[in-house]
């Protein structure tokens, strides 16, 4: 690919990076050459604290990224059904009000 094409979204949460835990507010996703994973192309995710510009980086094969998407969705569906009740389960994102 070798392009700057990215998907970017605001997120709310924390990640553990080089200096320990940190708040994160941005996720950058792109399918391009990885730095470390021994793949020609990878689904790359950078979880970023935009204030300190620190990131946690992940590089996944396309197949494992798709499986991860499905597992995240499944975990959200079952977890929210248990903890919030099925009536309240559904898409949630962003910072708590």
């Amino acid at each position: 690919m070798c392009s700057y094409i990215t998907e970017k979204t605001a997120i709310f949460g924390s990640a553990k990076g080089r200096g320990g835990w940190m708040s994160v507010d941005t996720a950058v996703v792109y399918y391009d050459h990885p730095v470390h994973a021994q793949l020609d192309h990878a689904l790359n995710i950078d979880i970023v604290n935009s204030r300190t510009r620190e990131r946690v980086a992940i590089e996944l094969s396309a197949a494992s990224a798709r499986e991860l998407v499905a597992r995240i969705q499944a975990a959200l569906d079952s977890g929210e059904a248990i903890h919030l009740g099925s009536a309240q389960a559904g898409p949630r994102s962003g910072a708590p009000a």
Partner: protein, 248 residues
């Protein structure tokens, strides 16, 4: 002739709009004169492969500068800085041309330089080398290694930072161009490579294209699964022969 005694240093110069630009300079020891090479890094960043590439050129008798197009994105590991640059939209062609022109001027002013400059880049740097060859003055030889998006398939991919496809500047190319490509590459694919070569020839440009079977993108990168040693070493011979002819 090989030059084992090298002088290497990190330097700084004023780049586009007077911004501080960091570069690595490697050259053979001695008074010269040595032909110059400016090497443009790939999108992942100004990493160890780039530094080693500069030393490879020096080993073969060239004074090589590789400048960090991400100098304005702060300090840190090359991959972190590369990710930061990507997330913030990447380097504009205007900035790249300003930084690269300043790097070439720095190199040409060196007392050990012979005044002749070749430019080369891998991947996005291949496209940028092609663009620099068209837009910057007084470059004597251009090497495009699998530059993606010299030909843009979808004009929607053009934006404020990269507003014009490099191919559209081809008529301004004044130097001979060497192209190195893997036939398994998808960006540029065989059709794009063939079309680029056809356009260069139709405009009367001097060009030499080499296409390698069994190789895809980034087949010089010895840290990646894409590395193809046999094809890479043959292509390096082509590069040194090309620069030897045009930069001596």
């Amino acid at each position: 002739m090989m030059y084992r005694d090298l002088l290497c240093q990190e330097i700084q110069f004023k780049g586009h709009d007077g911004g501080e630009c960091v570069a690595y300079y490697a050259r053979p020891a001695g008074a010269g004169p040595f032909p110059g090479v400016a090497f443009i890094h790939h999108i992942p960043g100004w990493n160890e492969v780039c530094i080693e590439t500069a030393r490879r050129f020096a080993h073969h008798g060239y004074a090589c500068i590789t400048h960090n197009l991400y100098s304005r994105y702060g300090e840190g590991d090359a991959d972190d800085i590369g990710a930061r640059a990507r997330a913030e939209g990447g380097v504009s062609d205007e900035q790249m041309l300003g930084d690269t022109g300043a790097a070439i001027a720095w190199l040409r002013a060196r007392p050990e330089a012979n005044g002749r400059i070749g430019i080369i880049g891998y991947c996005s740097g291949g496209r940028q080398a092609y663009l620099a060859g068209c837009r910057l003055p007084n470059i004597q030889a251009v090497v495009d290694c699998w530059g993606g998006r010299v030909i843009v398939k979808d004009s929607a991919a053009l934006n404020a930072r990269q507003p014009v496809a490099a191919i559209d500047y081809t008529k301004e190319l004044a130097a001979p161009l060497l192209g190195i490509f893997g036939n398994d590459d998808k960006e540029p694919d065989a059709e794009q490579v063939n079309k680029t070569e056809a356009i260069l020839k139709s405009l009367g440009k001097t060009c030499e294209f080499h296409r390698y079977d069994g190789a895809g993108h980034a087949f010089f990168d010895w840290s990646r699964v894409s590395y193809r040693p046999e094809q890479a070493m043959d292509a390096w011979k082509k590069i040194f022969a090309f620069y030897g002819k045009h930069l001596a």
